[in-house]
Symmetry: C2
Subunit: 366 residues, 2 copies
């Protein structure tokens, strides 16, 4: 199945680039509220399931045992931008469980936040693993190891007790068996398991409703969702989609990005879980796809809708700051998601400018 | 027509992301040496045609009148990384024609070269337009205006004599009529005109052979190709595809990147022009597509082929530096290009792992 074009980048009068993908919106019983493209194809969720990966930290009692509050829980679910507060909380998470940044197995990364990166450049300080966007998740995994009474060393390996707990949570909530044949290594060195897109959406629907979940899991999920939605600047960072959308529509939506064009989310009020994947891995398109889902299915005030429209269709500017094009959902996508009850065929949604028209030309003209 | 998947990004045992696109390899008579995907669809060439945009600078006599040597000519064709030498030559180009960086209409950009950007951050110096990757092209346009005896001001506008000359060169070499309905604004504020992909390849074939070109144009093109292939570090920068490929295969290939997944090139020895476009605009895929064309059609020594194989299939590494996947042409692509004499249908080339297989799962497991 060829996924449909869902997002287009225009320049002047024409479409310049196109992104294909799939969108799954599912309720806690596994019913598809919207299904566009091949929602059964397995995708690597990458960082989009950090909330699920943080479940054992809370369910096990580790978070409470080491005095983790809402900030620590939000950071355990975060792909942060390496801003000052992110780094400070990640450091504190390690301190609270008696460990240090040297225990982090996520590798080193410069902050994605430009001001934070420039601050390091100015002082000549090399970034520690605390600046890695996954440092909060990793600190949480180390905390879990401490609580389980096992050596944190090797906690990133699939066979470490910590990863076995994380994988079990992902398998159970997505309803998927996760074996070596769908296992790869994430950018931060822990395993990532390919899961059908609608399985990811199902997991978030189950967790956001608690439907069919053991009480401890339902309670843990609730605490993690609340922590993220309550302090969205921790989950990503200044100016980023996750942070801005959760801040703009406070408490009524959860969204979480993953690398290579994956986005997951949940609408608590409707009991829906959401998962999108851009075929080519582009973040700009995954964000637009998620924005289209929310525009279709999340009730908003007029003011929220105004704010949100800037995320749905974003300008492309020249370096002189002039708008020269835009990134937008293809015409009909928001309606298709709103009206969809089952799979949508490619020919039911079309880009407004369905292709760049060949120009008149004569080969002899050169 | 849906373009085929040409490039895939793997992670562990599975394909994680896929890039579709089209490839045109054309001789100077317009015969398709290879045509994959919709090669007649028009694409914005963006910076991939800077060599064509520099033709009037040389043909008009402006370059000679103002004492531009090979360095200046290479920089007129460059999308440079803002390294020290790039900035110095761009400055010199303006000085030679009696103008200053204040005349540049390209806007401001931080260097894409990390060391160069960090050097600016450390000193607190704000980047001038000289650091814009297009500053050499813009300096050349200003030089052309001076030689034509017109005010450079507004040289970025479609109706300025400089842009009319540039557009005429693009129209003539591509055999395309370029009107307002295919005109948009590039990132550096000058016009970019959508041209059929095989028209772009045709232009580079004509220019690299001189076939059917007026003597002045053929000579100008030869000087520009020689300048770029002779000093490829000016055309892009340290570690970049254009620079490394032209340096590795010295004098026998010309390649030039453009934004949104376009790449153009030429193989002088074979008389071929090349143009590729990744549908979704990804540079990583356009580079791989160009690498596949060269692997198929450019004779190389064993040593060159060894070096080049690192550009054809590139590792994806975790932040800890471990290889976790790769970006590569789909299986059969290089052979398909080598054997192609006409359009290739989608089903003739296939990814090795043609899709991520759905995993076994039971919905009741959660």
């Amino acid at each position: 199945m060829t996924n449909p074009v869902l997002v287009e980048a225009t320049r002047g009068p024409l479409v310049e680039s196109r992104h294909r993908g799939a969108i799954a919106v599912v309720d806690a019983h596994g019913n598809h509220r919207a299904a566009i493209g091949d929602v059964e194809a397995a995708v690597f969720p990458r960082s989009s399931v950090k909330l699920i990966q943080a479940l054992p930290l809370v369910e096990s009692g580790a978070a409470d045992a080491f005095g983790y509050g809402e900030e620590e829980l939000a950071m355990a679910c975060a792909s942060h931008s390496g801003e000052r507060r992110h780094v400070a909380i990640a450091r504190r998470m390690l301190e609270k469980c008696g460990r240090t940044p040297a225990d982090l197995e996520c590798g080193v990364q410069m902050p994605s936040n430009l001001a934070a990166a420039n601050a390091l450049v100015r002082t000549g300080e090399a970034p520690s693993p605390l600046y890695n966007n996954c440092s909060g998740k990793h600190a949480g995994l180390i905390c879990l190891a401490r609580h389980l009474g096992v050596d944190p060393k090797g906690y990133a390996s699939p066979d470490h007790p910590v990863q076995r707990a994380v994988t079990a949570a992902l398998a159970a909530t997505t309803g998927t068996s996760l074996d070596a044949d769908v296992c790869a290594v994430d950018g931060c060195s822990i395993p990532t398991y390919a899961v059908p897109l609608d399985g990811l959406a199902l997991a978030f629907a189950r967790l956001v409703t608690g439907e069919g979940q053991p009480p401890q899991r339902a309670a843990a999920a609730r605490r993690l969702f609340d922590a993220c939605m309550g302090d969205p600047s921790l989950v990503a960072g200044t100016g980023r989609f996750c942070t801005e959308v959760m801040a703009a529509i406070s408490g009524r939506v959860f969204v979480k990005t993953g690398a290579e064009g994956v986005y997951c989310g949940a609408i608590p009020g409707a009991g829906f879980g959401i998962a999108v994947k851009c075929d080519d891995g582009a973040t700009r398109a995954a964000e637009t796809m998620m924005a289209a889902v929310l525009a279709a299915l999340l009730p908003m005030t007029a003011a929220e809708r105004d704010l949100f429209s800037q995320r749905l269709t974003r300008p492309i500017a020249s370096r002189a700051g002039v708008k020269v094009g835009e990134i937008r959902p293809v015409a009909g996508l928001v309606d298709a998601i709103r009206e969809s009850r089952s799979s949508i065929r490619e020919d039911t949604i079309r880009p407004a400018d369905s292709s760049i028209v060949p120009t008149a030309r004569s080969r002899g003209g050169g």
